[in-house]
Amino acid sequence: MVSGTATLPRSSGTLTPDQIAALESAIAPFTPDQLIWTSGYTAGLAAARRVETGPDLSPANGVSAVAGVPELTIVYGSQTGHSESIATALHQAAEQAGFAGKLLNMSGLSARKLAKEQWIALVVSTHGEGDPPDDAVMLLEQLRRPRAPKFDGVKFSVLALGDSSYAQFCQTGKDFEAALQALGAESVAPLVECDVDYQAAAEQWRERVLRDHGARIGDTAGRPALQVVPPVSTGLRESLATVVANQRITGSRSSKIVHHVELAINAPLDYQPGDSLGLRVANPDVVVNGLINAAGLVATDEVQLDGTSVSVFEALKHSLEVTRITGPFLDAYAQLDGVADLQTQLDEPSGKQAVMALGHIADVVGRFPHAASAQAFIDSLRPLQHRLYSIASAPLETPDEVHLTVAEVRFEVDGADRHGAVSHGVIDQFKEGDEIEVFVEPNTRFRLPEDTSTDLIMIGPGTGVAPFRSFVQERAAQEARGRHWLFFGDRTFSQDFLYQAEWQAHLRHGALTRIDLAFSRDQQTKVYVQDRLRAQASELLEWIDGGAAIYVCGDASAMAPDVHAALIEILASRHDGDLDAGAADLETLRRERRYLRDVY
């Protein structure tokens, strides 16, 4: 087996049928533990070979391939770290499977360099309404240019991450696939769409990629070689937390309901400022009953769920998504007995978007009634997802607690007042003393600079301010030398100035150097954070020249692009208003990890 590894054919990247047969017969009697050991052993051999071949010549954050070993180039474009963790896991699996894996971040990767690769596994997420992650913007742009390099002979497969409650589900992955195909690349395995519960799909894709690429260690899913690599970052280890406070922090006359939630953590919870906390919350009764009525169900009827018998009410309350409309739900629901016209509408251009705009699942059910059984209806629903909240506290400040800033999502459908189920759930259902399961979702793309003397410019209107509460607390506890400038905005000064008293105290004690505020409804003309940024252009440039890092957190659909545009304008002012030059400056900042975003 050792020698076999050395003589793998270079061209197709697959083992010969003989080699496969030999390998299979060799490992047939192995126990799972032995298989795991073997995979590590061969991976170690591959790594040793790489060291022998000398210095790494690949791009800065890439891991180079080795001559004589089939290459698999794994490229990722990540915003919150999911794509990165999947790509990293694939990279490890590929190496263990005997490939020369190469791991490349899209950030700073040019189309020209990418075109030189032979076999590309591309992992990329989609944000908001079909937007690429920051890291992927430039690469996608380059691939779409008229003079983009040819990708003839290049093989690839795309894993697209997304959230099916958005109409433009996995759009960025599709964009990359289309762009690469247009340039002559060959899609060797169909694009795989991953929803927020991406793990199963991601693992299948990983197997598929490795198998198609020739590492025929097995012909079906679930072989040990793949299981030796656990999901790297998902951090889904849940721990128990106790609700110690759940307090509204918008004024009683505010048009918004935002709560500050404090959770005491019963066991040490490893997190850093910028990370998120995941929780799964039962659906509120009012929403469950609404759906039961809309769908013509009987709450006490029994249905099967994962092989157990539960009541319709229990299933909807604790196990299923009852509000968020997702693509898979629509596809399943459209096939139910008696559902007329829905499929036709979904097939129309923008048809899916129009249906999603209806609001909640109950609204779809109301508009397109079904005549199917309770079981069939239940089966069309997706499992209840956890929701992620930016952590609003700092480990150094409150080591035994995690704080969250939770906004109630509220929107109207046909005049009926509706609540976003989960936020509503947190706000209304979390009572002091309740125990809940939580997990940390690390966000490696939104971390404080290691150098505590780096200045921070933090732009976080609305609940986007949550991680900055954590940042400033952490920096204060570190007695950091860096300066801190916060841009905050919301509707009104008197009702919506989240954590006002705390910011005032930070300003008094110097932990916060400056704060600029934009309250949109306090005057005739609406004012937003981007307006405040423009007003402070020259001082912002001074901070940026001094090495400041810019952080943006909050709404991805309007705020983040507006802030992005304002920053480009501000940077362009040094190039006689040349916006392209400003955009290039901002891109440089981003690559230097001095322009970081956590937008949703």
């Binding site: 307090q247 509204r248 922090i249 918008t250 004024g251 009683s252 500050h260 000064f493 008197s494 100035f497 989240l498 954590y499 006002q500 008293a501 705390e502 910011w503 005032q504 300003l507 704060i515 600029d516 505020l517 306090d522």
Partner: protein, 569 residues
């Protein structure tokens, strides 16, 4: 004056304020807080602006990690309470635009806006300026709004006295340009005159200073409660001059017997042309002799107690460079306002409009004070006079316009008060806005008047007249210590009960029971009214009865206010 090192902190703020500028300009543009800097909260008072916060929401806001719900009270300066219909409309418009609760009429003939947010201060003051009014010295350690009886009967004498009140108000207005610079974007002069404040000096007065002119027989301004009072002496319809009174004041502190309400002493008689000189002499005496280390002992009343009346009079006479003539005899009939239609000597009519607690607002399914007065202001050819008891006189209605005004009053449900008792009752703002209040006053008054009215009726005395006043604290904004029955707040729904004041405001009352519940107050009044109904003499008022029958000891001077308080209290 006491030693420099014991000066009260406010003295330091005044000194540092550079003639009332402080850091107000910076405070106004600080976007992080709806408040102004601590020191500026003292300075702003001199500009007629008080920082307040909604006390009902303090705890809630703290839990919400929000600062208190800060807002500001703006008080106008309106000598004698006079304004034109155009000014009324301007004030109304500003109140609607910027004040949370509209316009409120004060117990000192001024208008007040409550709940003005910091960002609206400047536009509001500029709007007031545009209406040819201002808020300078409406609060603070200076001479406040000069009061004058809006007495409608004697039109000619009223005009004379009122114009003297206006002249004195102008004379005692601070001369600093700070107000113009801060609020009206006035030009900043590079060099100030050497003496900025010829009367006040650089640190102004030790404490607030209140002045009132009264035209007997109606003691509507409660002249003896003023630091400085001028009682018009009228003979055959002509103004001869004034009896000058000094050293009145209501403010005191619960449990601190060194503080007490005090009625003014009469210094003597002066002629109208001597008013400004006498006022200057008294103000500067207080400026130089007043206590600047203890603000609870800083009013003129304590200065006079400390100096002795004779020494004080001598000091004033030296400064004014003439002696007081012997005081003339004065007779008051009652305190409070005259309400309803009154025909004046020159044949024009005045209507005294009762406005509960001075709140100019439209009641749901009740009187439409705001709308009604706006409609009247649109057609009224005379003027308005704010009264010392939070009411409003529609003054100078010609005979031919009387029906029109009466029609508008009726159309908006603006009738007479439901009872004499309601008409004679007075309350301060108290909770939730006033920082000093310990109990409700304005919000409690309607309940109290209804219940006391019912007691009198029950004992066979319907439509009784009574001066009854409620305040949230003992500082005395509604002048409680001259009332026949006064409730002064101690805790929510708990008050000190005072009895024995005189209906014309010429005698202080005395503590009868301390810190008792509203229910206990009513039980006590029930017993006393029952006795009064049986044992009163013909025409005897309730306050007088309480003293004659020995229910309460008479308070003959302010310094004896705390003496002879019953052990039962």
């Amino acid at each position: 004056m006491t030693q420099k090192d014991t000066l009260s902190p406010v003295e330091g703020i005044k000194t540092r304020s550079k003639h009332l500028r402080g850091t107000l300009e910076h405070s106004l543009v600080d976007p992080v807080t709806g408040a102004i800097a601590d020191d500026d909260t003292q300075v702003s008072k001199f500009h007629g602006i008080y920082q307040q916060d909604d006390r009902d929401r303090r705890a809630e806001r703290q839990r919400q990690k929000l600062e208190p719900a800060y807002s500001f009270m703006i008080r106008g300066r309106l000598p004698g309470g006079r304004c034109t219909p155009e000014q009324w409309l301007a004030i109304e418009a500003l109140g609607t635009q910027y004040a949370a609760t509209g316009v409120r009429l004060t117990t000192r003939q001024a208008f007040q806006f409550h709940g003005v947010l910091k960002g609206a201060l400047k536009p509001t003051i500029q709007g007031i300026d545009k209406a040819l009014l201002d808020t300078i010295a409406a609060c603070g350690d200076v001479n406040r709004n000069v009061m004058c009886s809006p007495n409608p009967d004697l039109s000619r004498v009223h005009r004379e006295v009122d114009s003297l009140a206006a002249a004195l108000s102008a004379h005692l207005t601070p001369q600093t340009r700070a107000y113009h610079e801060i609020w009206l974007d006035g030009e900043k002069l590079t060099d100030e005159p050497e003496v900025v404040e010829p009367i006040y000096g650089d640190t102004y007065l030790p404490r607030k200073f209140k002045t009132g002119f009264v035209i007997p027989p109606q003691n509507d301004v409660d002249v003896y409660t003023q630091d400085l009072g001028f009682i018009a002496i009228v003979e055959d319809g002509a103004l001869l001059g004034f009896n000058v009174t000094a050293g009145g004041g209501m403010g005191s502190t619960h449990g601190d017997n060194k503080t007490f309400p005090r009625l003014a002493d009469t210094l003597g008689f002066i002629t109208p042309d001597q008013v400004l000189d006498t006022a200057t002499a008294i103000v500067t005496t207080q400026r130089d002799f007043g206590n600047r280390s203890d603000r609870k002992n800083a009013r003129l009343k304590y200065t006079i107690e400390a100096m002795g009346l004779a020494a004080f009079r001598e000091q004033v006479e030296t400064r004014q460079r003439f002696s007081f003539a012997p005081a003339r005899e004065v007779r008051f009939s009652q305190s409070g306002d005259r309400l309803g239609w009154v025909e004046a000597e020159d044949g024009v009519w005045h209507f005294g409009l009762f406005i509960p607690s001075g709140r100019v607002r439209d009641h749901e399914q009740g009187p439409q004070y705001q709308t009604g007065l706006i409609e009247i202001a649109k057609i009224h050819k005379g003027e308005f006079r704010l009264t010392p008891n939070q009411n409003l006189i529609i003054a100078g209605v010609r005979v031919e316009d009387k029906a029109l005004v009466a029609g508008l009053l009726a159309a908006h449900g603006l009738a007479q008060p439901t009872s004499n008792l309601a008409a004679g009752a007075l309350a301060c703002v108290a909770l939730p806005t006033c920082a000093l209040a310990m109990a409700d006053a304005e919000r409690f008054l309607p309940e109290l008047t209804d219940k006391v009215e019912a007691l009198f009726t029950h004992h066979g005395l319907p439509d009784q007249s009574l001066s009854m006043r409620v305040t949230g604290c003992p500082n005395g904004c509604a002048r409680p210590f001259v009332a026949e029955v006064a409730l002064v707040g101690k805790a929510p729904r708990h008050y000190n009960l005072y009895l024995g004041g005189r209906h014309d405001g010429t005698r202080l009352n005395k503590l009868y029971r301390e810190n008792i519940s509203v229910e206990r107050v009513l039980e006590i009044l029930d017993e006393l009214i029952a006795q009064y109904a049986k044992a009163r003499r013909a025409g005897e008022r309730f306050g007088d009865y309480c003293i004659r029958s020995g229910v309460i000891a008479e308070t003959k001077a302010g310094r004896e206010f705390h003496d002879d308080v019953s052990d039962a209290a």
